[in-house]
Symmetry: C2
Subunit: 375 residues, 2 copies
């Protein structure tokens, strides 16, 4: 078992190409982590996920503690064996889902009590329990419990929330059992207020984590505000540790954040879009439900090496999507995850080649060019 480590291998401007070493394998960065909410990346077999080149996936503590239960997964040998994903797994702390999914939630200084969205059963999540649950799951990367403030929010309310998250960060860290090859990330909060972000980042660094996440963004604020806060926050994060922007995002957001120094991402967008008939391609997003595709024999994206993008006609994908066939979800999710991984590979190569800005501009230019002309 190797030590948990991170090394920046190359930079291009503020963009970084790095490598994460974990107990479950290494991860080249920048990296996009497919979301496997309930211990499955929706509509994918583990082999399909691996075929996209994804080196690490995310799973949700909130969902798994409710069903099938963290102790049950521990008894079955942990999440890696359970979901047949031997590579690294990052688990969130559950805090975000408690706020967005659970019912009757009551936040106090010690933690949060909530009712399951599944059966109404009562549960309690504290920094200690959130950390324990992730240990039971055998998460490669554990996230601290935090409170994700809504947007917009008053400055004082944002500060109070950020300070609560800091106290929970300390308690999460004390509860974390340091093991070789495993890590825990603190989460910077502070909404769109740069001084709060700075205070949060500096306090977290004093507590000390194996990596740092930026939470509380991509919750409705304008894109330029998000990127400004990302850039401002990265300035206060250690240069030699990984930086993870939570819940982001669209391909253009990933590009913008990589240029500002982010190493890791997760988002449900490629998987959720894939179940809704939406495909990501080199020329931008394509809605396969649109009637323009119904007689089109061309593949979805000739520039992709993904079988879903290359081997099937748009006419067929359109038909599957209109029929709500499971194969539509399978193929479009596969295409989308492949697209996200390919984007990360391309950005990484550009950083190593010291041309992050140029490659990003070329990608964005092409991505904005629009779909193929109608036949």
């Amino acid at each position: 078992m190797s030590a948990f480590g991170f090394a920046v291998e190359a930079t291009s401007g503020k963009a970084r190409a790095g490598r994460l070493e974990t107990a479950h394998g290494s991860v080249s960065t920048p990296v996009f982590m497919p979301v496997g909410t309930q211990a499955t990346v929706k509509a994918m077999t583990p082999e399909m996920v691996a075929s996209t080149g994804a080196p690490i996936v995310l799973a949700n503590t909130y969902h798994l503690m409710l069903r099938p239960g963290a102790e049950r997964i521990a008894g079955l040998g942990g999440l890696h064996r359970f979901m047949r994903w031997p590579g690294p797994i990052l688990t969130d702390s559950g805090g975000y889902q408690v706020m967005s999914l659970a019912k009757l939630r009551a936040l106090d200084a010690d933690g949060v009590t909530f009712a399951s969205h599944l059966d109404g059963s009562r549960h309690r999540l504290t920094p200690e329990r959130a950390t324990e649950v992730q240990h039971l799951l055998d998460a490669t990367i554990t996230m601290q419990l935090d409170e994700c403030a809504p947007w917009p929010i008053e400055e004082q309310a944002a500060r109070a929330s950020m300070e609560l998250s800091l106290r929970w960060a300390e308690r999460s860290r004390r509860a974390f059992e340091v093991r070789p090859g495993y890590g825990q990330f603190g989460i910077v909060q502070g909404s769109i207020f740069e001084d709060q972000r700075r205070a949060s980042a500096e306090a977290l660094r004093k507590t000390g984590f194996e990596g740092y996440a930026i939470g509380g963004l991509a919750v409705g604020e304008p894109r330029d505000v998000m990127l400004r806060v990302v850039e401002a926050t990265c300035a206060h994060l250690p240069a030699d540790q990984p930086r993870y922007l939570m819940g982001v995002g669209k391909p253009e957001d990933l590009v913008g954040a990589v240029l500002r120094g982010i190493d890791m991402f997760d988002c449900v967008l490629p998987t959720r879009s894939g179940r809704n008939g939406q495909a990501f391609t080199a020329r931008g997003p394509v809605n396969l439900r649109n009637a323009r595709h119904r007689d089109d024999p061309r593949p979805l994206d000739e520039e992709s090496a993904c079988p879903a993008a290359r081997d099937y006609s748009r006419a067929y994908l359109h038909h599957l999507a209109k029929c709500d066939e499971i194969l539509a979800a399978i193929l479009l999710t596969w295409n989308n995850l492949f697209f996200y991984q390919e984007l990360m590979r391309r950005l990484r190569a550009a950083i190593i080649g010291a041309d992050a800005e140029g490659t990003a501009a070329a990608f964005l230019d092409r991505y904005a060019s629009g779909d193929l002309p109608e036949r």
Copy 2:
């Protein structure tokens, strides 16, 4: 392109091992055809279907003529290219779905007018149009248009329906364009009345088809009645042409029908069950939603070579099924189609080894033995 042909290679009692030669490849029999209703075997990629060993699939004329339309599929190069299944495809005539799915249907001597279950649009299906639609789809095996009588039915009503199907058989045959490697099957009707079945079979033989199907069974009649009618009907079908029992069925029904001389089957059971948490195993059907599986680390079926049966724990499959995750549908459908193909391979080997009865008895004995003891 090879000629459409069929040869019986071995017999064991009334059971036959044969080989079908078609324009799209050869098919060893007995064979189970997975159902690809809307030009996709639900929850499967074409590669997954092929990995089960299935040499031929079925598609539904009714569904495809309504969406995306037969002319559209023809314009896209036919169904094989459309759904990426280069092997043989059998299409039904649409008659069964008109009776079970469509609204406002009006049957007359010439054909049937109906309203689409999708949008209420009016359509007409005649023997000539059903044959033309299947030609447009590029079906390897075309089925005549028939009327599938309900059960129970009065003897006189059954006879009238059977005779209507015979007139439609003649018209379907006249409309069929004979091409090398393509075939058309007539459908024997006559409900549970053996004299009607005989009359139907003999009349169809006079018209002359490349194969013969037995329709109007597995519509609610007792199992022993079905097998009696199958046996009685097979006695009046040519020994040197393929026999297809439509819409059957459970593994034990397939075994019983193979022993009575049937070569081909189709049924939605393995695919539909797979989407409902039901798995077929050597020890019988298993409901993965049952709580007995939730802590069980054992694979679904150690005797199977299917990755879905071998590589995942029952606890995980239970979790996926309880969560209604798409991966549950994928893995259980895969397992079930693999199980059906393996059963056909085993019966074929037994027929060639002149021990169909013994192998069938051993299979049925084990299949009735019940699931693994609870852990």
